[in-house]
């Protein structure tokens, strides 16, 4: 057991959580349609990648869900949590963790979770 001393693993997980929380609350709400989804994906990826301890990041916006949410009058919608599929690898000292956010249809919730620890 690790005890009460804070380890690299602890910090890696804490930092990984920060990145997902930041990404979600910075970028959801952004106006988006099918034509502009890829520039938004790219900007989100690059933006979060500059934060400390991010080794890699992938951001995908679900085009089918996006399409289903387009307003019929105005032809766009907002980026919503359930549209996001995100994977982030964080490295802190000797520890590397992979975390993800994806829509959990059972919980009806964009679930953030730890995928693996090294």
């Amino acid at each position: 057991m690790a005890g009460n001393k804070i380890t690299d693993r602890d910090n890696a997980l804490f930092e990984a959580g920060i990145k997902l929380g930041a990404l979600y609350h910075q970028f959801t709400g952004s106006p988006v349609n099918l034509r502009t989804a890829s520039s938004l994906e790219q900007a989100i990826q690059e933006s979060i990648s500059v934060q400390p301890f991010v080794e890699s990041i992938s951001v995908k916006i679900d085009r089918d869900l996006l399409k289903s949410k387009l307003n019929s009058e105005f032809g766009y919608t907002e980026l919503q949590g359930p549209m996001l599929d995100v994977k982030i690898t964080v490295k802190y000292g000797s520890s590397r963790v992979k975390v993800a956010m994806e829509f959990d249809s059972e919980l009806n919730y964009p679930l953030m979770k730890i995928e693996s620890l090294e």
Copy 2:
């Protein structure tokens, strides 16, 4: 005088204000550095362009100001209002207006203003 009837001009100006307020409060706070500024500019432009009545939009991030704000330990900063130079043309019915946001160094404020009316 236009009286109390709401005109295309009125709506064009109202809509133009909405876009600038939206842009500012959606995207300031985004992590950014010199390498990622252009993808953020592009995404902001494209995102706001999907909103109703936007005819054209240009978004520039001031690289010199960005550079001066980079954290010396972590090498990035956040997008801040004073870094933004934005021009938007809104067309509503028969009326076209150009509005802008740019840093006003005298007021020390990222000032939004009406540039021209047609």
Copy 3:
């Protein structure tokens, strides 16, 4: 006709749009439930009231819609545009305008509109 000279009325409408766009993109996405909705309403009202030219503002979160969106596992949701009912009075020089945002069920859209001009 007002011509191409920028009037107080033009600026009042432009400023009113800025406030609604800012409010929407700053505060949607905030975690909220029935117990916390009133502190969020109050904070949004007070926050936007400090911006230039705001004479008065009222912000209401639709409790029925909020309740219907609560996640069944976690008991909360996010503030979404359709939940917001906002009225703002802006005064610029000699001109006073009232604008509003409320959910338009026909357009399925949180519509921002000019209500009256003085």
Copy 4:
């Protein structure tokens, strides 16, 4: 050593990070002055408290720093990271962690950190 199995402690730290990242990127940028700071503190506290696994939260806005940032023309500023002093206790299963964000003047950075583990 804990191995590659994901523990309550891992999840508690991950969740704590999510909350701090969310808080920061949801609420920085909010217009604020000395009169409205307390309603904003209250709303941020209550908003983040509804998220899963939050046992307690305290949010303070540094009034001296806020005062020093007020725009001299318009009498308000925006909530900025360095103004925030946040403490959050997260409980996940058998594990409780305390995390904090406060301005680190040496790093010139609003530092998020793990304070203690149980």
